[in-house]
Each structure stands twice: as C-alpha cells, then as structure tokens.
C-alpha cells in the first residue's frame, strides 16, 4: 500500500472529481486516475455559428471537424456525440472494456472528463419524492448540492413554475433565451396550463452566465453542440487543473483498471495503459470507484465473486419531438443564441406522482440535414422543409422514470479477461406512457399556439439517454455511504450506487452524492471535512 496516497479515485468524470474536493479539503492525500487520452480541444479562434454559416474562412473545418467527425455515421441519437466527440470517443471504451450489447445503445468513454464531455448540462435537484426508495433524503444531500452548484456554476431561476422542481440551490442569472422560447413562456404565463397537469419554465443548466475559475461566461455563439470554446458548459476535465492546486492531489492518467485485488491492509488496482498496453498498478487502503455505472459494475462484481449474475441496469427511457409555432414561420434563423436546453417542462402522467420531464432546444442552431434525417421525406424535401420550419420550431427531449426500463447486465470471465454483456429493453407499460405523453403534450402546446408535429414524438433506443444506474445500489450491495458492504474501503459513487432513477436529470444528484460520500470517507478516516467549503 502506497505511503503517499490515502484514497484512490478511479475516473475523472463528474462524480470522480466531485468526490475529490471534500477529500482534499479534509487533508487526505488523493490520487485521481483515469485511462487518459486526448481531451477534445475546441479551436479558440472559432467565430460564432452565424458568421461561420455566412461563409467565414475555414467554414467546412469548423462545421465538419478537422477529422470529418461530423460526416461519420453514428448510431447515437445525440448530435453532440456525433459532432463534439472525436471518432473513437465511445468505441475505444466499448473495445477496451470488451462490452457487447443487444438492443442497447451504450455511451461511455475513456476520455478525461468522462461523459461530461457530451453532457446536455441539465442540472436539477432530487426532492424527497424522487429519492423515495433510496436510503437518502433531500436533507442528506442539501449541503452537497450547494457545494457542487457553487463550484461548477449553474444558471437558471427559482422564480418560475419550474423553480421548485429544479430545486433550491445557489444560481447564476439565467442565460437569455431566443425569441421563440421567450414568446412561448410569455404565452404560458398569460394563458396558464389549462387542464393538462403540465408546467413550463426556464431550464436549469450547468452553463455559466458569470465567469468562474478560468471558465468564461456563455456568449451565445450557437456552437454549443460542437463544444464550447469558452468552457462555459461544464466539463469535469476542466476541474482537474483546479484540483491540482492542492499539494495533496495527484492526477495520473494512463490507467484503465482491470481488476481490484484485496491485499493485507487495503486494495491493489491492477490495470493497463490503453495507449501502450503496459501494466500499471496502484494501491491504497481506500478506493473510490467513479468509472461510470458499467465500468464500476465490471470491477465490483468480480470482487464479490458475482460473475455470471444477471443484474438490473436502469436507464431513463427517452423520447424526442418537434413543436411548430406557425406564428414564427417566416422568421429568419437566429444562430447566435444559446443552443442547448432553453426551457423545461414537467408533465404528470399515469396515476400517483409519476411524471415525465424534458427540455426544449431551439432548432435554429441544428443542421437542417440533421432535422431532415428525422423526417419521413426525401433528403432534399427534408432540407427544404427544415429550412423553413427551423426558426419556428423547438425540439423536445423528454425522459421517463427508470422503472420503465428493463435492461440486464452480466459480467463474465472467459479466456482470462472480463466481458460485459447488456441486454436492453423496455417495460411493457412504456408504450402507454408514450401515448399519454403524446396526447397531453399535443393539447398543451396547442393551447399555447404550437403544433406537436405528427409522427415526430418517438422513443430513443434503450440506453440512448446515456443515464445509466442501479447495478450495485445502496441498500443492496452497497451501504448507505456507498461502501461495498462486503469489501470495506471500496466505495462506488457513480450511477451504480442508485437503486432508483427518477425521470429528472440525474447528473447533479450523482455529483452531490459523490461529494457527500467524500465527506463521509473523510469522517471515517478521522478527518472532519469542513461543512461550509468555499
């Protein structure tokens, strides 16, 4: 066991980084490891999307990427995964971890920053109803939510109908919306919701409207889907630099952990450098796994001798749709605006407290070729229609409760190494939920002057939402403090620790929980973590 490391944190995604902060504040020596690899740099001299579209020199390189990434076909529904991520972003991960899937779309990456590289950045807080069934209550996470929100910067408002839904955390002022979204919100405030149990308000995003820590504020240049050149959109890879200000922090890329071995006084992580293939090992008494739900599951199940066991893997079944506001037809497209979630909604469906929630994006900043791809038309017809429709259209992305997913994950050994297999599926009640959502959204938008385009509301393939959780779970294989019950000293702080996945976006909660667990580890190590951290 290393004399220089108290805790090893595996993974530099949002949860790994969030766990490092309280550990470091408590004075523990932390080693953060990840597989390493290139961080996708955005050209700093890139002009705004409007200028590029108008024919700025280098247009094709800015739009297609120097490596033509935007031309490669992708089975991933997110345009961000196609155009912001380099080729190999996901496939290197799937190759390295030897994952096979059946009816499941898996996103994951070896890149520093993990999936936050392509995060849509919607940041909401779970309330007690969302946490029902987990051993946690909102009060357990309150301080951590605040700490994370202050650290990463979240813009939005508490003072509209969606304010209470997104939760009470420190906020930066909201980023101004485009005309279409602003008009819609104004009409909603005038006319109310009518009979549909639906609320509409500003979205809550981990995007800066005020600069923090070397990151600049959003300038609304429309290029969000290609990656932000100012760092306004949160990416946990940015935080590795800030963590390095602690003398007790070490970041060591170049280790993909293959297995965890129990040693006399702790754990030994054995792995390899994916770039060179060379073996790497690290040891410590405490290990925090934040490698992402699938990767952490792949490490913990062998440690517990639970190979071959089919375990539940949760995801949020998701759907997309398009709403047309005929009043906006004929407007010019506005490429200079914030191009990610501008508005958010919650819609009660089914019986009891269940709901679906989602966000609305402006269509102006999307490529008309992408929109045409979703239409049942010829490509030319689709492009022509998309060109006229885009300035008057919002694209919706909604989520259902993870209980409507039905996936299984198995970790198995063969020929000396581990394989992971995932079978994807939906609960049978998903089609009812989709139909109900379709009808209610149609009525809601009609009341506000919008037309839900017929045939446009469709479910993404299982896993297409990139929210994965539930495999190990607090109260199941993990304690309330996310410690592997049979292996004290090993903690899991990513989605694998949650046995429930409400429809609400999970990332901020996973980060807050990682922060909470970091504090608990510090306490267990006899170091009180300061409650009110800067």
């Amino acid at each position: 066991v290393s004399a220089t490391t108290d805790v090893i944190v595996v993974g530099s995604g949002p949860t790994g980084v969030s766990c490092c902060w309280p550990l470091l504040h408590a004075g523990l020596r932390v080693l953060l490891i990840d597989p390493g690899g290139p961080i996708d740099a955005v050209p700093a001299d890139r002009p705004g999307l409007a200028d590029v579209r108008a024919g700025h020199p280098g247009k094709s390189t800015f739009l297609l990427g120097g490596d033509l990434r935007a031309l490669r076909t992708s089975k991933y529904p997110s345009p961000k995964l196609r155009i912001a991520a380099r080729p190999g972003f996901v496939s290197d991960y799937v190759d390295a971890l030897r994952i096979s899937t059946n009816g499941f779309v898996l996103a994951g990456t070896l890149a520093p920053g993990g999936l936050s590289n392509v995060w849509g950045s919607v940041a909401s807080v779970y309330d007690d109803a969302d946490l029902a069934g987990t051993p946690l209550r909102f009060a357990d996470l309150r301080a951590s939510y605040r700490a994370v929100a202050q650290r990463i910067g979240i813009s939005g408002t508490k003072d509209d109908d969606m304010g209470p839904f997104h939760g009470d955390i420190p906020l930066q002022p909201p980023i101004p919306n485009g005309a279409l979204a602003a008009d819609l919100l104004a009409r909603y405030r005038q006319r109310g919701t009518g009979r549909t149990a639906m609320k509409l308000g500003l979205s809550r995003n981990a995007v800066l409207s005020l600069p923090i820590d070397g990151r600049k504020a959003c300038e609304r240049d429309g290029f969000c889907m290609w990656g932000c050149r100012r760092g306004a959109i949160y990416n946990s890879a940015h935080e590795i630099n800030s963590l390095s200000a602690f003398a007790s922090f070490t970041y060591q890329p170049g280790c993909l952990v293959e297995r965890i071995e129990t040693t006399g006084d702790g754990y030994r992580l054995e792995g390899r450098n994916p770039a060179t293939g060379k073996g790497v090992a690290h040891a410590a008494t405490r290990v925090v796994l934040a490698a992402g739900t699938v990767a952490s599951t792949r490490l913990v199940l062998p440690l517990l001798a639970r190979l071959g066991e089919r375990r539940r893997l949760l995801n949020n079944p998701a759907y997309t749709f398009a709403v047309l506001f005929p009043g906006g037809l004929g407007r010019a497209a506005v490429a200079s605006q914030f191009a990610m979630a501008q508005l958010s909604y919650i819609l009660r469906i089914g019986a009891g407290d269940s709901y679906t929630t989602g966000v609305l994006y402006p269509a102006d900043c999307l490529s008309p070729v992408d929109i045409a791809g979703e239409m049942p038309t010829t490509l030319r017809g689709g492009v022509l229609l998309a060109r006229s429709l885009a300035p008057a259209m919002l694209i919706g992305l909604g989520y259902f409760d993870g209980a409507l997913s039905d996936n299984r994950i198995v970790v198995d050994a063969g020929m000396g190494d581990l394989r992971v297999h995932i079978d994807g599926g939906w609960a049978s009640s998903l089609s009812d939920a989709l139909a109900e959502t379709r009808g209610k959204l149609r009525r809601f938008f009609l009341r506000l002057g919008g037309v839900l385009l017929p045939g446009s509301l469709n479910a993404l393939a299982p896993g297409g939402d990139s929210h994965y959780a539930g495999t190990l779970a607090m109260g199941d294989l993990l304690t309330r403090d996310c410690e592997v019950a049979a292996r004290p000293g090993v903690y899991v702080v990513d989605g694998a620790a949650f046995n429930r996945l409400p429809a609400k976006h999970c990332t901020l909660t996973l980060m807050a929980n990682a922060d909470r667990v970091g504090g608990r580890i510090a306490t267990a190590a006899g170091r009180a973590s300061p409650v009110n951290r800067p």
Partner: protein, 444 residues
C-alpha cells in the same frame, strides 16, 4: 398489356425498371451470416455490405460500432459457441453460413489459439449443420511460409473439409477506411516523400476491400463450390514499390520515392529494436511477411466467382472522374442549385478520407438531371448506400462554399409565402410517399 396486369403489377414493374437502372443488385438468400472478426478492417466493411443487401447478420465477438440490427454473441477465439448464434430464429430463414475472419496475432507458435479455436468453431458449426464455412486466409499461407502468420493460416486451412468448408486466400487488401495493415501503409506513405522499404521489388497481388467482400459473400451464399481454396487477388501482380507509390498518389496526392533497404539489415534492425528499451519495436513478422509472398494464379478462381478485380492503377485513375460526376449531381440535388467546383473537390476529398472511394452506380439520367435523384431518394431506405451518400453530400454542401440561404432562412420572409412553400413541398413529398407505399405494397 399482358393479362392480369393490375395497377399494382404495373407499378411494381415500373419500379423494378428504376431499380434495374442502378446496376445489378446481388441476390442474397434468406440466410444468417455469422461472422467472427467483425470489428476488423475487412470484417466491419463486410457487415455493412451484408446489411445493405438485407442479410441477417450475427457476430461472434465484441460489438463496438455495429448496427443495432446485428445480433452479437460475446465470444473470443477458443471459446465455446452459443447454439443460438447459428439459429436465424426466423421462420423464413434457411440456414447459416459462417465467415471466419478472426485471427489472434499475439499467439505463440507452439500452443496456438488460432488452430485450436478454429477447430472448436468448426466442430460447433458442423454439429449445427451450417451450410457453408468460409475461412479467411492469406495468399501467403504455405507450409514453408517465412512468417508465422502464413504457417498458421496454412495449418488452419488443413482443418477444412471441402466442398462446403472453403478457404479464401486474400491478397494485399486496400481501399476503404485506413485501418489494419492498409491503414499502416497509408500512414507510411504520407510521412515523407521518401520511404525506405524492404523487398520493394517483391511482387504483390492487390485487391480492393469491396472486391474482397463481394468474393466472401459469393463464397458464403453461392451454390456449389468446386475448389477447396479460392484466391481473391488481382491476377496480374505488381511490385510492392509501385503499389505504395500508387497509394501515395491516391491518398496524399503526391509522388513517393522508394529507397530499397536489404532484408538482412531490416531483420538486424528488428532484433536490435526489440532489445533496446524506449525504441519502437520493428516487427520481425511484418518484415518476413512480405518477403515470403509468391505470385499465385488467381484468374480461374475469380472467373468461377464472377468476381471482377480491377487493377489498382485503373481503380485510382477512373475513380476520380466517377466521384466528381457523382459529386456534381448529388451536391446539386442536395443544394438545389449548381454548386461550385471547390465544393465538389471537398466532396471527393472527404469521401476518400472516409474510405468511401467508389462512386455509386448512378444511371446517366440521374447524373444528367440531378433533380430526378429525388425520385431515387424516395425509393431508397434511410440506411441504403444512396441515402448515406446523400447525407454526406448534403452535409458537405452545407459546410462548403454554397450560399447560406440554401440551408438556412437568412432573412425573414412573409409568413404566407413560407406557408405556401411548406404546403407545396409537403404535397410533393406526399406524392413521393404514396409512390413508395405502392412499391412496398407491390414488393411484398
């Protein structure tokens, strides 16, 4: 009109004549194609080609980047094979053909997973009554091959029982995405205008990756096979040096000079590099691999398979005009206007870099009247080669130097005009959709 010719039959015949104009499409039996090594350079291309032809594809191995329509069975050379893998599981399916591409490069010669693993796969295939087993071997496969790869491939070939277990000895494969050995050669030829090379005068027999795929599909689905081994490679050998020069010309648009170095020196350097720490290792296998190649006759095999293997020079010489003509037509269709030649050059350059270096077989009328491509577009599924090429063309037209108003509403327009425009486009698309409906209905 012939008797019994209803509107449905007329529409169907009419559509068939349109389809026929796009060149012959290969008839694929309703069979499951079970692939190993599907993530490799040839394998991934083969999966795409099979899916394009509507085949049922299953894969033994890992599943990165594969289409969701592919069934995946986790497997590695040497593992037991799941019985489900051989079972198409569909009522109309007939049988299963195995195309075995996987090769374990890290194997030592004595206890060797390729031989044992293939034997195991063969046993499983036989017990499940697969119709055809195609083992993908190499032209360098010989009992006395200089490198291990050639000896292993030869040993595995001897496991096969003709006529329905067949080996495909593949030549030097080029084209498509720069991966595998081909990717290495593309990178090497782009480093500098001078390239030191062992055995530069060695004769090689190139073959384009799509020709390999057609050959393998032919072997897997064709009727009776007459030979135990089919060689897939150009009949006329060329020197390795001229192959590399042509590659430099195709891929990097420049001339390449080859500096020959003696084989003994290269082997000595390989030994040295493996001993010195911190120096990139030169693979002895690779050095010897080339040296051991002998030209083989292939024309009879190719004739049997009705496979045309074009010479490399002809391919690169004829490709560009084909791609340029296609670019003008597709870009014009996507942008709705004549496009600048700079955009067409961007199209050709991008396609080459994506490995899509062959033009589609578009008919003369589509090239001459690009607006008519809309009809073809309407008749093709979203994952068809035509549609994929169209999406690329549209993205390039958007990112190229065409006026912005082709793709975005640059300035406001009266609402009524916009609505009229939407309605007229909607009407056209509605008619095209009816046409597609008739085709689908007729085709059933």
């Amino acid at each position: 009109l012939p008797s019994g010719a209803g509107p449905r039959a007329i529409a169907e015949r009419w559509w068939q004549s349109i389809a026929a104009m796009q060149g012959p499409t290969l008839y694929i039996r309703r069979m499951r194609y079970l692939l190993t090594g599907a993530n490799g350079y040839i394998g991934s291309r083969l999966v795409t080609r099979l899916l394009e032809r509507g085949a049922d594809v299953a894969v033994l191995g890992a599943a990165p980047g594969l289409a969701s329509r592919v069934s995946v069975f986790p497997w590695r050379l040497g593992d037991e094979v799941s019985a489900q893998a051989f079972d198409p599981g569909r009522p109309r399916a007939e049988a299963c053909a195995v195309i075995h591409l996987a090769h374990d490069w890290n194997a030592a010669e004595g206890r060797e997973p390729n031989h044992a693993g293939t034997a195991r796969l063969l046993t499983a295939a036989r017990s499940h009554g697969v119709r055809r087993f195609v083992f993908v071997s190499s032209l360098s496969a010989r009992a006395d091959a200089l490198n291990r790869y050639g000896r292993i491939k030869h040993a595995v070939e001897r496991l096969l029982r003709p006529p329905d277990e067949v080996a495909a000895q593949v030549g030097l494969v080029y084209g498509g995405p720069p991966r595998g050995m081909y990717g290495t050669m593309v990178r090497l030829t782009g480093v500098a205008p001078l390239l030191p090379m062992v055995d530069a005068h060695q004769l090689v027999q190139p073959i384009h990756i799509d020709e390999v795929c057609s050959g393998l599909i032919g072997l897997a689905s064709g009727s009776e096979l007459r030979r135990p081994i089919y060689r897939l490679a150009a009949a006329k050998p060329i020197t390795f040096a001229s192959f590399l020069k042509e590659l430099a010309n195709r891929q990097h648009g420049r001339k390449l000079a080859i500096v020959p170095i003696p084989r003994q020196l290269a082997l000595w350097l390989a030994d040295l590099s493996s001993r010195l720490p911190g120096v990139p290792t030169i693979d002895r296998e690779r050095v010897l691999g080339l040296a051991g190649i002998r030209p083989r006759p292939t024309s009879a095999d190719l004739r049997d398979l009705q496979l045309k293997v074009g010479p490399l020079e002809a391919a690169s010489g004829e490709l560009a005009p084909g791609l340029i003509a296609e670019g003008f037509a597709l870009l014009r269709y996507c942008a709705g206007t004549r496009v600048r030649s700079a955009t067409v050059r961007l199209y050709v350059r991008c396609l080459r870099r994506l490995g899509e270096d062959r033009p589609l077989a578009l008919s003369w009328w589509a090239l001459a009247v690009p607006g008519a491509i809309r009809l073809l577009d309407a008749m093709h599924a979203k994952d068809s080669p035509l549609r994929r090429r169209l999406v690329i063309a549209a993205r390039i037209a958007e990112a190229g130097c065409e006026p912005a108003d082709r793709f975005y509403m640059v300035r406001p327009r009266p609402t009524s005009l916009t609505i009229a425009h939407l309605l007229s486009e909607g009407l056209v698309e509605g008619c095209l959709m009816c046409l597609r409906g008739i085709r689908r209905f007729g085709g059933r």
